[in-house]
Symmetry: C2
Subunit: 212 residues, 2 copies
DNA sequence: AGGCCGGGCATTGTATACAACGCTGGGGTG
DNA sequence: CACCCCAGCGTTGTATACAATGCCCGGCCT
């Protein structure tokens, strides 16, 4: 059975990530409880968990608030991603098995097909697949703590927006990165995989900072 | 005012880190509530927080359990430390100001003095200072997320034990690492600082795996 | 008029009662 | 004797009531 606390957590989390709950807005336990049809207890638990993950801020005796992201924060996040995922790619190149690489290839190919068209729904689908791709690499690294650290850092409710912001040329370029990364992992070239991953992520940061 | 939930969290956390609550032992909400003189509500909150930080494991409908550490876990933790703190040292070398470096020097010198003697209480004091030293470097990196990621990874209730396990020669060697690291940061040599930090941490892992 | 004080209000913090779930052990059955 | 089933029990999960805290606003004093 899925507990009410988990349900509330999921609702709040996806609500924050897709900006249903806007950055900076206050979240009252009582209001959320009535909104979601349960008592304050599970809501409290969910808010505490989201706070531990850095998605909301808990002001003592004042309640919870959805965190806002400055451009400094964005830079911090992307540099952390480059560090963690670069390392993850190197480990993945050393330890990923054939099935996992095949899955990676599959995702990358699916993305390449979608990226030829430019519709907005395709872009959103791409954002989902992109998250899945990067996650698959980290899973392949076989480091539980790396995966956890990454999950905590990458809480930016901006995946869709970022993916929509790429020009067609930039999007194509990013697909090439993915293919290159898969090749590096397949060949077991850890250094190359790490370099490609770092460049891939830092280029996203550059596009973000210049475009925004 | 400090809430009961925070008090319980602090008690449990320090109890776990100094092994008052042994690895693998079960923590019943009701028992803890009576032990600490409050209701289950703050206990629940504290346990959830500790779970998010990776110090306890929450078995659904079965309660909480203090996490145990396999040698694979230890290796994972130290490799993550090498990654995060190596990066932190590089950033620190670039951005740390004079006061912060002076503070680092101060801690390193204090540790060097303590390390000449071999008494157990000195070793415990050294463990505390060591934590402070490594934390000061990360604070100097000015990356909030790096600091947070590190705090979550480094939850090993073994600091004292590790520090006691060093031979006098190994301890001296580690003091040299610290001095070398301070120098690298002072000179602003990011690559050198990162290398020294990584080697420093990975050598600790080696000593642990060989000695244990 | 400006600042300080105090009470009301919204909100979180805590306690407690009860429901739901899962394990465990004892008795029955093949 | 081995296996299964079910009832009892301990535990967590949830709801609700009440206490405590901090903010806000109106009135009073200077």
């Amino acid at each position: 059975m899925v507990t009410a606390a988990v349900r509330v957590y999921d609702e709040l989390r996806s609500g924050i990530l897709d900006s249903t709950f806007e950055a900076g807005s206050r979240l009252s336990e009582d209001r959320l409880a009535r909104l979601l049809g349960c008592s304050r207890t599970p809501v409290r638990e969910a808010l505490r968990r989201l706070s531990a993950e850095g998605l909301v801020e808990l002001l003592p005796n004042r309640g919870a608030q959805v965190v806002s992201w400055s451009s400094d924060d964005l830079e911090d996040v992307f540099r952390m991603r480059a560090l963690l995922e670069g390392h993850g790619a190197a480990l993945a190149a050393e330890t990923m098995d054939t099935d996992e690489v095949a899955r990676l290839h599959e995702i990358a190919d699916g993305m390449a097909q979608l990226s030829s068209d430019g519709s907005q729904s395709d872009r959103d689908e791409l954002a989902t697949l992109d998250v899945e791709f990067h996650r698959a690499v980290l899973v392949g690294s076989k480091s539980r703590r790396l995966l956890e650290a990454h999950a905590r850092v990458v809480q930016v409710p901006l995946h869709q927006r970022v993916m929509r912001s790429y020009s067609p040329a930039q999007l194509q370029q990013r697909m090439v990165h993915h293919q290159e990364l898969v090749r590096a992992i397949q060949l077991g070239d850890a250094d190359w995989a790490a370099s490609v991953m770092r460049a891939h992520i830092l280029s996203a940061l550059n596009i973000l900072l210049e475009g925004g």
